[in-house]
Amino acid sequence: MQSSAAPQHEPAEEITIDVRELVKTYSGVNAVNGLSFTVRRGEIVGFLGPNGAGKSTTMRILTGFLPATSGYVSVCGIPVASRPDEVKRHIGYMPENNPLPEDMRVGEYIHYRGRLKEISGRRLRERIEAVIERCDLKRVRHRMIGKLSKGFRQRVGIAEAILGDPDVLIMDEPTIGLDPHQIILIRDLISSLRGRMSVLISSHILPEIEMTCDRVIIINSGRIVASGTPRELRREYVGRMVYRLESNASAERVAAILDGVAPQLNINAAEGPDAEGFTAFIIGTPGAEDLGEEMLRRLNAAADVRVRMLGRERSTLEEVFLAATRRSWDLSMEKSGKGGVAR
């Protein structure tokens, strides 16, 4: 609360998670292979990757639970390898599947975890009230954790993770197995942490990541294959724009009007004329620049054409994800191919 009143001398630039050349080998197999990234204070970063890409392993190393094979990892400037106990005071962690003891009441569990996190006395009571309020757990406070629904259990996990008001919050698949309503609740909860904590979330539910995260890191086979804001990634990996136009004109007429806006316009009628005579067109442009304004100007200039809507269809992160992971596979195939030739 005080920090918001304090003058803003670039606290956003402070790096809270610093990972350099991280390698983790399990019995000869590289689960994480030369991973490097940083997360700044207040950022929400999504960690994407297919199953077995090394997301959970990286997160476990960040928390100091697993030792790395090589590389450097620090949290809030504290190296994890040499001072794991100090690092653990700065992080809140929710592991995959959110394990909780079945036979404890919600309030008791949060209190116990608070004691383990070295919060005591009045501050602990205040923090417990705060997280119970924030995660909307008042109703189930005295219920057994084993009897709670999955959404509530997940919220207990998040309440526990943010209990110590950590600088870094690490959550492994926080929305797995939840219904859409619960996902929205969790997403809002995570968004409300923006600017206060650095949050690292792994998931393979892509719209999820896209909606909550400032930045996305896509990893595959233990390597980073793409990283940036969802928008940057879309531009780099999808590299084309798709628009939806609803107009009463025929396909030929639309093509004639829009001719010359971009070198290769790809115009397809998607849904045939409806009762009012409007046809929906899907227009693909090859470049990444926005042509919406130009198209709208030309369509308005044509007197005989009525336009009901023109909008950009956003390519989903799914496409980015598929393109990026495919590209990394191609690269690794090429590399191994070349290696074979050299020998």
Binding site: R60, T63, G64, F65, L66, P67, D85, E86, K88, R89, I91, Y93, P95, N97, P99, L100, P101, E102, D103, Y112, R113, R115, L116, K117, E118, E160
Partner: protein, 253 residues
């Protein structure tokens, strides 16, 4: 070690809420009750040389062999199976604190169960009205022995639970280790092979780790520091191996 009390009270609470604790307690009290009744019956038939509490404690191994595994077998496999070990070890808690906290809770419960058998003595005292039956010397010596040897037995149980992912395996392993410590040493020292001249030092060493003879010393009022050191160092060793066991399992998880 500042988290030790937190973990200790949490574990004690978990143990007191677990059904397996009550199964262990009921079995224990039932068996010891039958044993005690049997002893009294034999005293009823003819006069005996030894006081009843002496005979009572000489059968201590019987409940130890099944009660200690029941108490300790779920300590660590349960946490590992549920994944809560991961959340526990990502707080500023060390593995040593977790293991020692669990050990201390199981040990406290073990001693509490044994203290319940004081009820037998109380009933005997109340109804026999004969002070000779309750010789305080062997009684106190016996309970001190239970408290001291219990450290080793419970720590061996914790060690077994740190080595396995399954409760059943941990329980069986604890039973086998306890059997080896309590009865195995005597069986080995009876081997004819060891009667040969060259094995004398080995046999002498083995004489010193006989749990049964320790019990006899304690109930006779002899408190031998060598025996105390045997139990304390054995406990420390078992706990150190348990900590290493947990950390080793985490490394390969």
């Amino acid at each position: 070690m500042r988290h030790l009390p937190t973990i200790f009270f949490h574990e004690l609470r978990v143990l007191l809420l677990a059904p397996s604790t009550y199964i262990a307690a009921v079995l224990f009290l039932a068996v010891m009750g039958f044993v005690f009744a049997g002893i009294l019956d034999s005293y009823n038939q003819e006069a005996q040389d030894l006081s009843p509490s002496f005979v009572f404690f000489s059968l201590f191994w019987l409940p130890v062999l099944f009660m200690v595994p029941l108490l300790t077998m779920k300590c660590l496999p349960e946490e590992r199976r549920a994944g809560t070990l991961e959340t526990l070890l990502t707080t500023p808690v060390s593995t040593a604190e977790v293991v020692i906290g669990k050990f201390a809770a199981s040990y406290t419960l073990y001693v509490m169960l044994w203290l319940l058998t004081l009820g037998f003595m109380f009933i005997l005292d109340n109804y026999a009205q004969d002070a000779r039956f309750l010789d305080p010397g062997p009684l106190i010596g016996g309970y001190v022995f239970i408290a001291v040897s219990g450290l080793l037995f419970v720590s061996v149980g914790v060690l077994a639970s740190s080595l396995s992912r399954s409760q059943a395996v941990a329980g069986v392993m604890a039973f086998a280790l306890l059997f080896a410590i309590i009865i195995g040493a005597r069986l080995v020292s009876d081997l004819t092979l060891l009667q040969q001249e060259g094995f004398t030092p080995f046999r002498d060493a083995l004489e010193n780790v006989q749990v049964m003879s320790h019990l006899q010393d304690f109930t006779r009022g002899i408190i031998d520091t060598r025996q105390i050191i045997f139990y304390l160092s054995g406990t420390a060793l078992a706990l150190i191996f348990s900590i290493l066991g947990v950390e080793g399992k985490v490394l390969r998880s």
